[in-house]
């Protein structure tokens, strides 16, 4: 059941982004302009800086240098408005194991000031196939179910900029199908999406742009409006 887009699509501008952890530099002078509505496949080996980039884009992490701007229409968004419009699926599930599925979603719905909570939460749980397990503790869920719930949590506030860090990892077949359908719907709605991955999977067929990171820098970029398929073809098949 599609939920309406809460705001127009958002573009992301990164200028000279650096991130250092002590003497280890994860991102070096990274400059990227991601247009609203683009579906970006972020590629690169482990350690190339994909996770760091996504964490900075979601404002969880401060860059050591450089600037990040969120653009809507022709205006720059304030950091708080941007936070309201960004959704992140991270390596961890970001869920409370001791809460039920419904309690987790209700908490985050409250934090995002959403209304009509019971209906919204029920709808979200049904959409990801966890409607029957609404009152079960997350602690009892399988990995695939947790990942599905994590996705549902990230989608709850209808983000206009959706960031996913290796979302297919740990998903079961039902989850993968739902992920594919959700990403397809988001793309259709004009949501800006950035998916990071280091191996091939079906959701990448939706990509309108591919960016390869290596050593903290942009290595190759198919560009806005370009063809991402040659770059995507270089990815190895997922085992």
């Amino acid at each position: 059941m599609p939920s309406p887009q809460s705001a127009p699509a958002i573009g992301l501008r990164l200028e000279g982004i650096c991130k250092r952890f002590g003497s280890f530099t994860a991102l070096r002078d990274l400059t990227l302009d991601i247009a609203p509505g683009e579906f970006v496949a972020l590629l690169g080996h482990n350690g190339a800086g994909k996770t760091t980039l996504l964490r900075i884009a979601s404002q969880l992490m401060r860059p050591s240098a450089g600037r990040i701007t969120f653009v809507s229409g022709n205006e720059a968004l304030s950091p708080d408005s941007a936070r309201r419009a960004v959704g992140l699926v991270a390596h961890s599930t970001l869920l409370y194991d001791e809460f039920t599925a419904a309690e987790n979603l209700t908490l985050f719905a409250q934090l995002y000031s959403l209304d009509d909570l019971p209906a919204r939460v029920a709808q979200a749980l049904d959409a990801c196939g966890l409607g029957t397990r609404a009152t079960s503790l997350v602690r009892t869920f399988s990995r695939g179910m947790r990942q599905r719930l994590a996705l549902a949590r990230a989608l709850l506030h209808s983000p206009s900029l959706f960031l996913l860090d290796e979302p297919a990892a740990g998903l079961d077949r039902q989850g993968l199908a739902w992920l594919g359908a959700t990403l397809s719907r988001l793309r259709g709605d004009g949501c800006t999406v950035i998916v990071s991955t280091h191996a091939r999977n079906e959701s990448l067929d939706l990509a309108t742009r591919a960016i390869n990171l290596s050593g903290g820098r942009v290595d190759r970029d198919s560009g806005t409006g370009g063809d991402p398929r040659p770059l995507l073809a270089t990815l190895r098949e997922e085992a």
Partner: protein, 224 residues
């Protein structure tokens, strides 16, 4: 979203989590009771001595139990990186911090609701006539304890040996609070009981200074 509303949501979450798991309250109450009982082995107090040393004993018990209880405040947000989820949400950082402070205040106060009557019974110290004023002193003292303790829980959550580090950071800072709280409590245990406004001002001052400092510095506390 404004800070009070965010704080209430976080407070609600902390309470719900605690009611579900009861991790903190059980451990805190038991530990504080152990301290109270052990003190009686260290010196065998008469009723008069108990009135004299009682305040010190009580507050040391609260301090130790409190520093144990405050550690999980941020440490348990590291499972599944739930702190990231809270930081992602469009809520003010101080709302998040304040919610946790309020929750810790409630937990500590709940533990003291058990502890103070038990102390009163074990050491034959009568609390009649001073309960109301004692609650004021306890509130101001607890506030200072949870304000600094919650902040240092956030600080030590990222460090190694954090269970040991938190008391190490917290107890020196709380020295003025300990003095003021003990003296104010002692004034209530004295004959006739009196509410010592000087010491209450020190407690209040401590609370205001560190709450303000927390408010100013909260973004630095939570950033990555």
């Amino acid at each position: 979203m404004n800070t009070p509303r965010a704080a209430l949501i976080i407070l609600g979450k902390e309470l719900r989590l605690e009611l579900r798991t009861r991790e903190l309250s059980n451990a805190t109450i038991v530990f504080a009771l152990i301290v109270v009982v052990l003190f009686s082995f260290a010196f065998d107090p008469t009723a008069a001595e108990a009135r004299r040393y009682g305040p010190g004993l009580l507050w040391i018990a609260f301090l130790f139990a409190g520093s144990l209880m405050l550690n999980p405040s941020f440490a348990r947000e590291q499972a599944n990186d739930t702190l990231d989820a809270l930081r992602l949400a469009p809520i003010p950082s101080f709302g998040l911090l304040l919610g946790k402070m309020l929750a810790n205040l409630l937990f500590l106060s709940a533990a003291e609701c058990v502890l103070v009557p038990v102390f009163s019974i074990l050491y034959n110290v009568s609390l009649s006539g001073i309960v109301g004023r004692l609650i004021i002193v306890l509130f101001l003292g607890n506030a200072g304890l949870v304000i600094t303790g919650t902040v240092f829980s956030a600080v030590s959550a990222h460090a190694r040996m954090r269970e040991l580090l938190l008391p190490l950071l917290l107890l020196p800072i709380l020295a003025p609070l300990l003095i003021a709280a003990v003296e104010a409590t002692a004034a209530l245990f004295a004959d006739p009981p009196a509410l010592d406004t000087t010491w209450l001002s020190v407690l209040g001052g401590f609370d205001v200074v560190f709450l303000t400092a927390s408010w100013i510095l909260c973004d630095y506390l939570l950033e990555e």
